[in-house]
């Protein structure tokens, strides 16, 4: 089995986000980027499948600050081949990201055919979860998303995928390969890899750099950002302090003032 995992870096929201001059993008010079959480789960799911059934694991990422760390970490965890697409403007649209993934995967020797293409079902800059289905569409492959577990049959031509539905309902689907699956969560949390192994991978593993293909169509996105703004607080919490009697008295007064009893 050959598994291709697609990785994307997203803004790290632990650090502050700043809006750039002009108000239409984040300040990319100030951003720190981190591997999208559900892509990390896609990688973990691929590693679990490789451990169980044996597989060749290829990882393809879009270039972004700190992406090399993510790729060396993937290699240290067990990826056999790591590639990144260079020359893209940071913060490219979801449609362009999907197009680039599909074009590079199809054109780069040895990347396709892959039996399984796994990627995160969603990212903080792709809350609609469009990358995976758009990749599937361009590659003319079936797609199934919101997956939380995968097992393969002995032939290796069919996988059983667990898909989550609302209200705690789970469905089990048979998917004929090749296919694209959008991973919501791997069967176990992404593993830890010792930093020494990542440091060793950074010395021994070569990241293959692939120039980005030209954008499809006229290159103009159908949706443009008009303005980005910080949320403006509309109210605030009032913390009641003092002795319990004072706090309870004040609480009763507030409830009475607002007609709640």
């Amino acid at each position: 089995m050959h598994i291709l995992v697609l990785l994307k870096m997203v803004p790290d929201v632990v650090e502050d986000l700043e809006i750039a001059d002009g108000g239409r993008t984040l300040d990319l010079d100030y951003l720190r980027m981190i591997l999208s959480e559900s892509d990390d789960h896609a990688l973990e799911q691929a590693l679990l499948l490789k451990e169980r059934h044996g597989a060749k694991l290829t990882v393809l990422a879009l270039d972004a600050p700190e992406v090399d760390d993510a790729l060396f970490t993937a290699a240290a965890k067990g990826a056999d081949r790591v590639l990144k697409v260079t020359g893209l403007d940071a913060g490219c649209t979801t449609r362009l990201a999907a197009h680039v993934f599909a074009q590079v995967a199809a054109a780069q020797p040895g990347v396709m055919p892959a039996d399984l293409v796994l990627t995160g079902v969603q990212a903080i800059d792709d809350l609609d979860g469009l990358v995976a289905p758009l990749v599937a569409d361009e590659l003319r492959l079936p797609y199934l998303g919101i997956i939380t577990g995968i097992s393969t049959d002995p032939s290796g031509k069919i996988v059983r995928a667990i898909k989550e539905f609302p209200a705690g309902v789970r469905g089990e689907f048979e998917v004929r390969l090749p296919a694209v699956l959008g991973i919501q969560a791997a069967e176990r949390p992404p593993r830890y890899v010792p930093v020494a192994k990542v440091r060793a991978a950074s010395k021994s593993v070569r990241i293959e750099c692939i120039p980005a293909p030209l954008p499809a169509g006229d290159g103009c996105p159908a949706v443009n950002v008009v303005q980005m703004k910080r949320n403006e607080p509309a109210g605030h919490a009032e913390m009641l302090e003092g002795a319990p009697e004072q706090v309870s008295g004040r609480l009763c007064a507030i409830l009475a003032e607002r007609g709640l009893f």
């Binding site: 632990v14 650090e15 502050d16 981190i34 176990r188 949390p189 593993r191 830890y192 010792p194 930093v195 020494a196 192994k197 990542v198 440091r199």
Partner: protein, 393 residues
């Protein structure tokens, strides 16, 4: 560069390994270990397994995760074998590598330390945010590169944790009143990494060590003064391999050098009965037993009393060697929390203040006091906080 050139494979042939093999098998290490009773292979048995060439069997148990790197076995060993320095970290590394899954809390702390330079996962760009609340000017080297006598290495819990920041504000106030010429690294600082090394993560430690040494070399100062005994330990014992050759002090013994200057500044009487908890790194590892007590005795009104286990016999707070991020794991195993064992002993003295010198201990002991319902009877204060309080008008 490797901070510890000895591996488990080369250990038996190394001078450190040969020293371990002189073990008398007296069992004092296992007896003094605060978690010795939960380990399938406490230090004595581990050495016996090493002699028998059966170390692999030790990795089949996760008991060694309970090693909180408290240096008790090392301090008590009649042969002076430095178990906490070499064998235990190497064994712990392998124990964790053999686990099917790293305990989640610990994994997150290690990942956060690598990415953000602190185990809590707080923004690296807000490390110096506490400075705005210091109440006194704090010079940050990146903004003012003039040489300083002391580089104050603040460390993680003191920079981010709200009660740790109380320690920072107190230290800043003391430094100013004493006229110490100091600067901090601000957002350039990252964890010194000591718990990475003693947890199991030598690669993480080396990464942090490389980073911090590169930052140190950008500025001119004579000594490093740190608020964290764990950082002190790393700088003293590991960083010299990379050329760390500045003077080194922990804040508490550093302040104890100013007793004569401090005394007239401590004008406010504090009516506290205080018992002092010796931090493992500051106490057993570096033998700073008297300095914190000298400072506490200097405070007008303070009555200092001792716990049964004090100085070299102090009981660990349970935070070292990664224990800080294994509370959930230990609880699931049914282990007693060492911080709860320690505050029970502290409360039994009748003291109303538990004084500490390590930023880990504030959160651990305050939490333990709340869990056991003692939080109305006892408060936790860093020695610096008590000194600063005694300086208030």
């Amino acid at each position: 560069m490797s901070a510890c050139p000895v591996s488990l494979e080369t250990l038996p042939q190394s001078p450190e390994g040969k020293e371990i093999l002189t073990c008398l098998q007296c069992g004092v290490c296992a007896g003094t270990c605060p978690y010795g009773e939960v380990m399938d292979y406490p230090p004595r048995r581990m050495i016996a397994m090493m002699r028998a060439g059966m170390l692999e069997k030790v990795f089949t148990s996760d008991g060694l995760l309970a090693c909180v790197a408290c240096y008790a076995c090392m301090a008590k060993c009649p042969r002076g074998i430095r178990l906490t320095e070499i064998l235990l970290p190497l064994m712990k590394e392998q124990t964790l590598a053999h686990l099917p899954e790293l305990p989640g809390e610990l994994q997150k702390a290690l990942q956060n330390t690598l990415r953000y330079g602190n185990p809590m996962g707080e923004p690296s760009r807000k490390r110096a945010a506490w400075v705005k609340t210091a109440g006194v000017p704090i010079r940050i080297f990146a903004e003012d590169r003039r040489p300083a006598d002391a580089l104050w290495f603040v460390e993680c819990y003191t920079s981010y944790y709200p009660r740790g920041q109380d320690n920072c504000r107190a230290t800043a106030k003391l430094f100013h009143r004493l006229g110490v010429d100091f600067a901090i690294l601000g957002n350039e600082e990252k964890c010194a990494g000591e718990c990475g090394r003693l947890t199991w993560e030598p690669g993480l430690f080396e990464t942090l060590m490389d980073y911090n040494m590169a930052v140190f070399q950008k500025y001119q100062f004579n000594r490093v003064v740190t608020s964290c005994p764990h950082a002190h330990n790393a700088f003293k014992n590991r960083y010299p391999a990379l050329g760390f050759n500045w003077g080194l002090e922990h804040v508490t013994p550093f302040l104890a050098k100013y007793l004569d200057v401090l005394k007239p500044l401590l004008t406010r009487k504090l009516p506290y009965t205080v018992t002092y908890h010796d931090s493992c790194c500051l106490g057993r590892q570096n033998e700073f037993y008297e300095a914190p007590r000298q400072l506490l005795r200097l405070i007008p009104g303070v009555k200092l009393i001792e716990m049964v286990h004090n100085s070299v016999n102090s009981i660990c707070c349970g935070g070292g060697g990664g224990g800080m991020w294994l509370d959930t794991y230990f609880k699931a195993k049914g282990y007693e929390r060492l911080s709860e064992r320690r505050v029970t002993e502290a409360v039994a003295t009748g003291a109303d203040v538990l004084a500490v010198s390590c930023p880990y201990e504030v959160s651990r002991f305050e939490d333990a006091l709340k869990v056991l319902g003692y939080d109305k009877r006892m408060i936790v204060r860093d020695v610096t906080e008590l000194l600063a309080e005694a300086m208030e008008e």
